[in-house]
Assembly symmetry: C2
């Protein structure tokens, strides 16, 4: 079963907006067995839209299209759809009612533009949008289903989850595609690939292995295809067990589980709390941990000690250590972790201190030099990282390395 | 001058990876006058790659392609390119030398896979990669330039900036496309569009207006096209001045400037410092502010007070306020801001306290209820926000609203 994903809007083409919608749609469609054969972004120009719809009609089973349905006048999608599907716009009273309701929840009046959003092509099936003002639209032509949705991620996701995905599942009865991911940290892709060369060569023909690296985290993905769901599942489970025996020390989680979710689960299971003392990561570890719903159960707080006065003041780091070894040192980062555990009254404290860059490096401590530490009642451990010249990368990598170190300490 | 952007790799199609590369390339190509007519993502399958290359050859001036050049065996791009361009692979000694150098900086040995990366199609022009192991490749066929680059964002950006963009600029002598953005906060898109309806109607034919909303921030983009650079620039400047007179209170910056950069510039200009006391935002404001290079000049630190014990302890919030009004209240958020200003010894302190969700709401304080405050020697101000049921959105919106409030206070 083939699907294409189309996003409309020149903000995507000229790079004003990063397209997160199609990644989300791709993942969901893939889960229910669709092969995504292409993703395309085009301008919101009549000719370009007509040409693309003409190219795909009859060639794929489903086309999911987002964008071009906002309240402002740079959107010209609806009249173009009427042209392509041979229909015309009409005011839909039900949609108007929903727009009125949505708007009344906000502190702003109904505008003419909002009313225009209730106009929909006659021949389409309207998909109600409970979280926004632009409805979804479902057309069928020459054996291709076209689903048009607004480009606002929350609205698209709502329409997909509440209506589109369930309906597609009932219409299509697909052969099985199963994805299974292992989440790895602490090994470069090329070294990992060497370690797994034999494993990959010996995979059964139904399975495929892929490496998906991102900021040091590698998603190792096994994909299985076939008609017999149970058989493919068993094959995958067998191979996952094999991976656990080859590279146990690098696997921190399965599926899409992020490190911040992993650490939360470990803490909840042990009834322990955590907090951070951050210098070069500037609160990023705290932000990652609290991005998880329910994190207030185990996360108590943080002290972001960017300035040395905060390190000596709130964290109680001895001024002599700073003078003697500098802020970016094993001695200071360990003192920060110990201070945070004491001041925040937590079981585990993570600390970071480093030169994030792009400037501020010295010969002995170049940009990318970072110390991380974890303190618990068991012990205090620390580690030196040699990262890059890129500030964003350094902050991300320091944060992930520090959480990974904490995960290992919690598991001890 | 037409360009297309192609990304190769099924991790993009099945949504394992969000495609940030093409946004970056689109922005850069657009700046030097190219029209990006399409963005396409396809599988790393021989047939799909050949079909797509065949479709675009001769139809566009430039095709930028990323992905499919990593060290692991899920990549089959290079042999396919040889097929399409009628050439074969050969070991390039210069590239091998660079790979050896890059690898020697890391703590890992050279692998067979790394050596394979030094094999390149004979007929292409090799683009040296100083930050990774996969070189770029430049082909020309039937008046189309094809540039292949690795998918790792840092490597692609390096190849583009150091070689591809300068070379394209010298080859093509384009007509002018100028983009100018104003960054707005605090007004919904539909209301803004009503306010600007007359302005938009009266725009000269060379200019186009677009609304690009994202998490409450609206980029208002004016695009001008024409042959006379100076003329287009003047038209845009005139219209920007008009926008400043119509909606001054919502504009916080120009161009791509984020709120965290804006607040940094304001603080540096006034020689003032800032810090935060964060509950529901969990350190996100601190993370945003410290994402800016040089932020250590004005950012001293933060206290993330997730647990009430941190609010009463490190921030010195009176326990009676918490008992009487609850953590999510005007009284507590203002006390947090005042406490942070005192404890962190900063000129401005930002504080947040709210119900981020998805659970934890009550009838009087439903999920999405957030209080923000800013304290300075001038005064302490606070504001109540009514946000959504979505945790991520609530954290982002609370953070931006709080920084926006601080910007207004600093400007006072």
């Amino acid at each position: 079963m083939k699907a294409v994903i189309i996003t409309i809007g020149d903000e995507l083409l000229i790079g004003q907006t990063v397209d997160t919608n199609s990644a989300w749609m791709g993942a969901e469609m893939s889960k229910i067995g669709f092969d995504i054969i292409k993703k395309i972004s085009i301008n919101d120009k009549r000719e370009d839209i007509l040409e693309l719809l003409g190219e795909i009609v009859g060639k794929v089973d489903v086309a999911l299209i987002t964008g071009g349905l906002g309240p402002t006048s740079d959107d010209i999608t609806k009249p173009t759809l009427c042209e392509f599907f041979g229909t015309s716009l009409e005011l839909n009273p039900e949609v108007l009612e929903m727009v009125v309701q949505t708007i009344s929840l906000r502190d702003y009046p109904l505008t003419e533009l909002n009313k225009k959003q209730a106009e929909v092509p006659k021949s389409c099936q309207v998909i109600k949008n409970a979280v926004g003002t632009a409805p979804g639209m479902w057309f069928e032509k020459d054996n291709t289903i076209f689903v048009f949705m607004p480009g606002v991620p929350m609205e698209m996701e709502h329409l997909m989850a509440s209506y589109v995905l369930p309906k597609l599942r009932t219409i299509f009865n697909n052969s099985t595609i199963i994805h299974k991911n292992l989440m790895l940290y602490g090994i470069p892709e090329s070294i990992l690939a060497e370690r797994l060369a034999d494993f990959e060569t010996n995979l059964p023909k139904e399975l495929k292995l892929a490496y998906l690296p991102s900021s040091g985290v590698i998603k190792l993905r096994l994909t299985g295809r076939g008609d017999n769901n149970r058989y493919i599942e068993n094959l995958i489970n067998e191979k996952v067990a094999e991976l656990y025996s080859i590279i146990p020390q690098y696997i921190f989680a399965e599926d899409e589980e992020s490190m911040e979710i992993t650490i939360g689960k470990l803490l909840v299971a042990r009834n322990k709390t955590i907090g951070t003392a951050e210098s070069c990561t500037g609160g990023n570890i705290s932000t990652l941990i609290t991005s998880v719903p329910g994190s207030s159960k185990y996360f108590k707080g943080s002290i972001v000690a960017y300035d040395n006065s905060i390190k000596t003041g709130l964290l109680g780091v001895n001024e002599n250590l700073l003078t003697k070894f500098g802020a970016v040192s094993q001695q200071v980062v360990e003192a920060m972790a110990i201070g945070a555990r004491r001041e925040l009254k937590v079981d585990y404290a993570i600390a970071t201190s480093g030169v994030a860059g792009p400037s501020g490096g010295t010969e002995s401590k170049p940009v990318g030099t970072v110390w991380i530490a974890v303190s618990s009642e068991k012990r205090t451990v620390s580690q030196k990282l040699r990262l890059s010249a890129d500030r964003k990368n350094n902050i991300t990598r320091s944060s992930l390395s520090a959480i990974n170190l904490a995960i290992k300490e919690i598991k001890l």
